[in-house]
Structure formats: structure tokens, C-alpha cells
């Protein structure tokens, strides 16, 4: 018994305490979303009433174009996910499998650039896109396509590193065999690399989906019009300062928006974690 206490009890104490810490905000949001008063005030931590009025408000209140925000988010994040994985896969293939002059230098430069947080160049992006707006109003500041273009700027740098570990694990002998059989680089890419890499490409595109979903600052700068906003920008503007009034609807909205992301994340857990630790364990 004393042995159990000494060895196991403290582990459970830590586990329970941290679980409480981890779950508290999530629990709070759930009970807020089913609280019919919709107020921020917590009268009781155990819900006494159950109501879907906050959820209904999201879909019926014309001042909260929640469905449009969701659609915008899905379109933007989805497009970025697909395009950036296309860019990332072909770049990773070139840098991992093909030989060319200046490769090492380019890769080092890429690494350096990829460290530069996009947000630091925000003023410059803003001014550049303002100029683009001058001659191409559909692509410049304030438009979703403009935002997409800016997002794609980081696609190559980031995805190369995500894909690198995997690409390296495909035996190079496969490529060489294909080459002996007379396959061009293009054929090797399409017929050997892509089929083998398909699962990991799916993972990378989902990660990029989550990343885009979580992007706030550029989206906020670009999407001024209420109906062009993403969920993140929309909900932020919606509660902005008025926590007490709009809390219930916000809670409902954030739950609906978060659930798909949490599900994607949990189902990719294995890949994400191995990706996280791969770099470190190799140390």
C-alpha cells in the first residue's frame, strides 16, 4: 500500500490536476453554449438548463453571417491546403532527389527565409498588395484571392521541411531502377514518388489546413468586408470587447468551428507526434 502511494499516487495527483486545468476552459465553453441566457456570467458550474438557442442564433441572426464565415474558411484553407501541398511535394522531390548546382546554398537560404515570421514583413505585404490592388482590384488588398496568394508564399519553405523526413525514407534505389529503365525525372515523380508519398501528402495538406485555419493577422488585415471574413476573424470581431453580451453565441460558434479541427488533429496524432519528435530524437 505504501509502495502504491509512493509510486502511483503522485502520478494520479499530477494527472488529475493537469486534467482539470486542461479541461476547464473547454468545459466552460460547452456549458456556456447550452446556457439559454447566453451571458458570460457563470451562475453555476453545473448546467441547470439545456437550450440550443445560442446555436440557433448563429444560423438565424442576420448580423452574424456564420455560415458564410465557415464557407470562406473552408474555401480559403482548403485551397491553400491543396495548392501548398502541390508546391511542397514537387519542391521536396527536386531538393531531395535531383542533383543541381547551388542546391546546398538554395536549401540554406530557404531555411533562413522560412524562419522569418511572415508577420514581420506585414507592413511591406500591406503596401505591396495595396499597389497590386491599384491595377488588379481582384487580387489585391481586401480580397480573398490576394490573401491566398500571400499564404502560398510560405508554402515551399515550410512544406519542404515537413516532407523531407518522409522523402528521405523512400529508398533511392527505386529512383535509380526507374532511371535505368529509362524513366525521366517527371515520370519518376508521377509514377513512383507521388503514389508512395500520397498518404504523407494528405497529412501535410491537413496540417496546412489547420495552419491556415489558425492564421489570424493577415486574414484580419485583408478581409475587412463582413461577408468575406473567416471564422476566426468573424468571431473575433463579433465578441470584440463585448464579451458579456455575445458570449453564448460565440461559445457555440467556436465549438462548431473547433470540432472538425480537433477531430483532424486527433486522427493525425500519430503523424504529428512522430513529426515533432523525429527532428529531436535524431539530434
Amino acid at each position: 500500500m505504501t509502495n502504491w502511494l509512493r509510486d502511483k499516487l503522485w502520478r494520479h495527483v499530477v494527472g488529475v490536476t493537469v486534467s482539470f486545468f486542461a479541461l476547464f476552459p473547454l468545459y466552460l465553453v460547452i456549458i456556456s453554449s447550452i446556457n439559454p441566457t447566453g451571458s458570460l456570467q457563470v451562475s453555476s458550474f453545473i448546467p441547470r438548463e439545456f437550450s440550443l438557442i445560442n446555436y440557433k442564433k448563429l444560423f438565424n441572426d442576420p448580423t452574424i453571417p456564420y455560415l458564410i464565415w465557415m464557407k470562406n474558411t473552408l474555401v480559403i484553407s482548403g485551397t491553400v491546403a491543396i495548392l501548398s501541398v502541390i508546391i511542397g511535394a514537387s519542391s521536396a522531390f527536386a531538393f531531395s532527389r535531383l542533383k543541381f548546382k547551388g542546391k546546398r546554398f538554395t536549401i540554406q537560404l530557404l531555411f533562413l527565409l522560412q524562419m522569418f515570421p511572415a508577420i514581420l514583413a506585414l507592413s511591406a505585404v500591406y503596401v505591396i498588395m495595396e499597389r497590386v490592388y491599384n491595377f488588379a482590384p481582384h487580387l489585391g488588398l481586401g480580397t480573398q484571392p490576394g490573401l491566398l496568394l500571400v499564404y502560398l508564399g510560405g508554402a515551399m519553405g515550410v512544406n519542404i521541411w515537413l516532407l523531407k523526413g518522409f522523402v528521405d525514407s523512400i529508398p533511392i534505389e527505386l529512383d535509380e531502377a526507374a532511371k535505368v529503365d529509362g524513366a525521366s525525372a517527371m515520370q519518376t515523380y508521377w509514377q513512383i514518388f507521388i503514389p508512395l508519398a500520397a498518404p504523407i501528402l494528405a497529412v501535410v495538406s491537413l496540417l496546412s489546413f489547420i495552419g491556415t485555419f489558425n492564421e489570424f493577422i493577415l486574414a484580419r488585415l485583408f478581409l475587412i468586408d463582413m461577408n468575406s471574413r473567416t471564422v476566426a476573424v468573424g468571431l473575433q470581431g463579433f465578441i470584440g470587447g463585448q464579451y458579456s453580451q455575445n458570449w453564448g453565441a460565440f461559445a457555440a460558434g467556436s465549438i462548431i468551428a473547433s470540432v472538425p479541427i480537433v477531430i483532424i488533429f486527433l486522427s493525425l496524432q500519430k503523424y504529428i507526434i512522430s513529426g515533432l519528435t523525429a527532428g529531436s530524437v535524431k539530434g
Partner: protein, 512 residues
């Protein structure tokens, strides 16, 4: 046979795609040059050439694979970085936002004064002999005229048709414009100067009233200065993007223009106390914030990893709970925490029975920021630490146990040092990330609370990046030039930290 068909189909697709992209680029290039955006136009031309050469020849096969990525990278990462450096050497802020020729044009347009009597006319906009003109009426003095850009044609009362207020609505050879035509003239309309007499002209105020005015500020192109024609004051280029009175440097003509001032922003950062001291305090807090975040998240993550390192009952349940904060979209979590810290109704005060104004006090706001970031970040280090602990060979601790070491000794002498060695690049990466953790600060506290000591903009929880954002996109003055200078400095800091981390992790060596 089938292979061949496939091959040809792929080729056709490729050409189609390249042709479409080129067509689109050509359109953009044309409109870019038409609107005088030469830099962007030139970049697009180069991009087009690169695309055509790469995909229609075999100059470089690897380039076929990464050219699209490269072009996006150049356009939206490299370009903005270089532009940031350039902007940091410019006076570039509200009031100094346009180019010099545009600014001169605006100063000229604004530099007019009404005549001494303040004469105004009721006007009708229209055409006279196919030229833009106004039909001006002075119903009190019964004076009527048609004014074009070059002529002032006086009309007798009997040739015009008047409405009940004595305002002329029609005149011979004058055709009034309809609303659509006037709307098409749009903003230019207030800049049109209709001839009156001598130096005086009539300018429109709205679409039905014209006022007599004359040019007061006159621009001399050769000497690059403005002269006030009434009192003779001279305004010269002050080298910082404004025309100022030669004898009184406080008297500035608006608007100014974006003007190269070289390293003035950087020099101000060093010399000007009002600029330097808020920046230093923000910098210190940024370092403290990032360090405390790394420390707390790693400590908690490690603690859990150690606690969960033995198979205990419910370990899987614990594990899935611990991952949840990491799986939640961080933006949503931060906004939720923002509500929880609300003073009056927030769950935190309710839970603990306190009445703390969390975001009103510098200390509490800082505690809140660290606490929320702990919640967001500990799962990451839990995952990392437990992964790393599994990678440490168990023979080491077994051997130590045989030699009589206690579990505590094993942890501190063997596991921890090895673990630290493994995770240190990630600790550095986490530091660099949190150094620029804009979303957390901006969405949780907005950088506040603000203290008078912190200068005009900086708040107690502002980190460098949120401070920069406020300078560039704040509500009062938007100073893009100064913000760019700070961005450049942040980049140098972050790059050196990251490079140090990279050297440690040797990640670059694996690419050869």
C-alpha cells in the same frame, strides 16, 4: 500505345496550363504598367520569362519542379523582406504616404484661398461647345455667365431661363449634364478650375455651388519650392518628406510624401529617449515572456511526461485529455480565455471568489498571458518529452539502478541531462516562436494595459511584434517606416537565435 496517348495528353495539359498562366500574367503586366506600378510589372515580366523558358525548354529539370514555389516565395516572402528593409529607410507614415509628385499636386490643390468678398454662385454643370463648363448664377445681383476652363462668357438675363429662385437652368449652346455624367466625373470634379477673371477661378463645392478662389501656393519646379503669393512666404523641401516654411520650421504644408531619410529611424532608436525607452521596456518584457513561457511549458510538460512514464491506470485517458488544448484551434482558445478573465462575469474570478481586474493591472495581465500560454503550450512539451524519454536507452538507467542509484538520482543525473540535450533545439525554436507570438498578445490583452510611462503606444504586455503592429496599423498615426525599422531589428534577433538552434540540431547537414 496507351502510354503514348497518356504522354501526349499530359503534354497538351501542360501547354494549356502554361498558356493560361502566361495569358493571365500578360494581362496583369499590361495593367501594372498602365497604372505605373513598374516594380511589380517588372517582377511579373521576369516571372513570365522564367515560366516560358523553364517549361518550353530543358534548361533545368529541377527548376520545372520548384519554379512555382520559388516564384511565390520571391513574391510574397523575399520581396516583402527586401521591401521592409527599404521602407525602414523612408519617412513613411500617415501624412507622408504618397509620392512626391502626388504630394505637390495635392498641396497645390489645397493651396487656394477664396476671394476677399467670398463670392459664390449657384451652378449647373454641363457642356458648352463640347467642353466642360458651368452655368453660374448670382440671383441677387442678377449676374449670369457660362464659365469654361478658358473663358468667362457673361450672359444677359434675357437669354437664360430661370427657375423660381432666379437660378439659371438653361442657356444657349449650353447643355446641362445628367446625374450619371456628373457621377462619372466623380472626385475630379472639385479639382476643375473654371475661368473667372484674372488669377481668380471658380471651383465647385459639391455639384450645385461654385466659389471664387485663387491660387495662393505656387510651386516653382526649378527651385523645388512653394511660394505663398499673398504674403511671400517660401516653403522648402525639409528632406524629411515635407515642405516647410523657410523661416519657421514648425509651419509644415500638408500632405507630405514618403521620402528617403536613410538611417534616421535607426538613429532615433538609439538617440531619442522617447523612442528608445518604450522600445527597451517592450524588448525586456518580450524576452521575459518568451523565456517564462518556454520554462513553464517545458516544466509542466516534463512533469506530466515523467508522471505518465509508468503504466498507471487511466494513462490513455489522461493522455487524450492532455492533448486537447493542443488540438483546439489556438485562436478559439485564446478568445475563450479572454472571456474567462473578464473582471465582472469571468469564470476565473467566479471560481476563486476573487474580484481581480485582470487586464487593468500590468502584473495581473502579465500573469494571465503566461498562464494562458502555459495552457496552450504544455501539451507540445509533454509530447516531446515523452517521445524523447523513450529514445533514451533504458540500459543506462538500469545500469545506474544496479549501481545503487535512487530513482531521483537517475532522473537528475541521467535522464534529465540526456533529455535536455535532445530537446534543446526545440526549446530554442519555441523561444523564437513565442518571441513573435502575436496572436496570443493581440487577442488576449491587445497589449494593454497601457501606462503613461510606456509612451504613446506600448502597453504592459506588448511584445515587440504587437508593438510593431500597433505602430504600423494603429488608430492614430500609422508609421510604416518606423515599424519596418523595428521589424528589421526583430528579424536580426530571431535569425540569430534560430541559427544558433539550427547549428545545435545540425538539421542542415542532412541535406546534401
Amino acid at each position: 500505345m496507351l502510354e503514348k496517348v497518356k504522354h501526349n495528353a499530359a503534354k497538351v495539359l501542360k501547354y494549356l496550363f502554361v498558356a493560361l498562366t502566361s495569358a493571365l500574367l500578360l494581362m496583369l503586366i499590361q495593367s501594372a504598367f498602365a497604372k505605373k506600378e513598374y516594380e511589380i510589372g517588372a517582377f511579373l515580366v521576369l516571372a513570365l520569362i522564367a515560366i516560358l523558358v523553364t517549361y518550353f525548354s530543358n534548361v533545368s529539370i529541377p527548376l520545372k519542379f520548384f519554379l512555382p514555389g520559388l516564384l511565390f516565395l520571391l513574391a510574397f516572402v523575399v520581396g516583402p523582406i527586401l521591401y521592409t528593409v527599404v521602407m525602414s529607410t523612408f519617412q513613411y507614415q500617415t501624412g507622408n504616404y504618397i509620392s512626391k509628385p502626388e504630394a505637390i499636386e495635392r498641396v497645390r490643390a489645397l493651396g487656394v484661398a477664396p476671394d476677399e468678398a467670398g463670392t459664390t454662385f449657384d451652378v449647373v454643370i454641363g457642356k458648352y461647345n463640347n467642353q466642360i463648363a458651368i452655368l453660374a448664377s448670382d440671383p441677387i445681383n442678377k449676374k449670369y455667365s457660362i464659365n469654361t476652363l478658358t473663358e468667362n462668357i457673361e450672359l444677359a438675363v434675357n437669354v437664360v431661363s430661370l427657375d423660381e429662385n432666379g437660378v439659371a437652368k438653361e442657356a444657349p449652346d449650353f447643355s446641362p449634364s445628367n446625374t450619371a455624367e456628373i457621377a462619372a466625373l466623380d472626385r475630379e470634379i472639385s479639382n476643375i478650375r473654371f475661368k473667372y477673371s484674372g488669377d481668380y477661378f471658380i471651383s465647385l463645392q459639391g455639384t450645385s455651388v461654385g466659389a471664387v478662389a485663387r491660387q495662393v501656393l505656387d510651386y516653382d519646379k526649378n527651385q523645388d519650392k512653394f511660394t505663398n503669393l499673398i504674403n511671400g512666404n517660401q516653403y522648402i523641401d525639409n528632406g524629411k518628406g515635407n515642405f516647410v516654411n523657410k523661416n519657421d520650421s514648425e509651419e509644415v504644408l500638408q500632405p507630405g510624401w514618403r521620402s528617403p531619410i536613410w538611417f534616421s529611424h535607426y538613429i532615433d532608436l538609439i538617440k531619442d529617449k522617447n523612442v528608445r525607452s518604450p522600445l527597451i521596456s517592450v524588448f525586456i518584457w518580450t524576452v521575459v515572456f518568451a523565456s517564462l513561457t518556454v520554462l513553464t511549458t517545458f516544466a509542466l510538460g516534463l512533469l506530466i511526461a515523467v508522471a505518465m512514464s509508468k503504466p498507471i491506470r487511466g494513462r490513455r485517458v489522461y493522455r487524450s485529455i492532455f492533448i486537447l488544448p493542443y488540438a483546439m484551434p489556438s485562436i478559439m482558445s485564446i478568445l475563450i480565455w479572454g472571456g474567462m478573465f473578464n473582471t465582472e462575469f469571468g469564470a476565473i474570478n467566479t471560481l476563486f471568489g476573487t474580484n481581480i481586474a485582470w487586464f487593468q493591472s500590468a502584473t495581473f495581465a502579465r500573469v494571465a498571458v503566461i498562464l494562458v500560454n502555459l495552457w496552450l503550450g504544455f501539451p507540445y512539451f509533454y509530447l516531446i518529452s515523452s517521445g524523447a524519454m523513450q529514445a533514451i536507452p533504458s540500459e543506462l538507467s538500469e545500469a545506474a539502478a544496479i549501481d545503487g542509484a535512487t530513482p531521483r538520482q537517475i532522473f537528475y543525473k541521467i535522464t534529465l541531462p540526456l533529455l535536455l540535450k535532445i530537446v534543446s533545439p526545440l526549446l530554442i525554436a519555441s523561444f523564437a516562436f513565442n518571441f513573435n507570438n502575436f496572436n496570443l498578445i493581440y487577442l488576449l490583452t491587445g497589449g494593454g494595459p497601457r501606462n503613461e510611462l510606456d509612451g504613446q503606444i506600448a502597453g504592459a504586455t506588448d511584445i515587440l511584434i504587437s508593438y510593431t503592429y500597433k505602430i504600423a496599423f494603429g488608430s492614430n498615426v500609422q508609421d510604416l517606416g518606423f515599424a519596418s525599422a523595428i521589424s528589421v531589428i526583430i528579424f536580426l534577433i530571431v535569425a540569430s537565435i534560430s541559427l544558433y538552434g539550427v547549428k545545435k540540431s545540425k538539421v542542415l547537414d542532412s541535406f546534401s
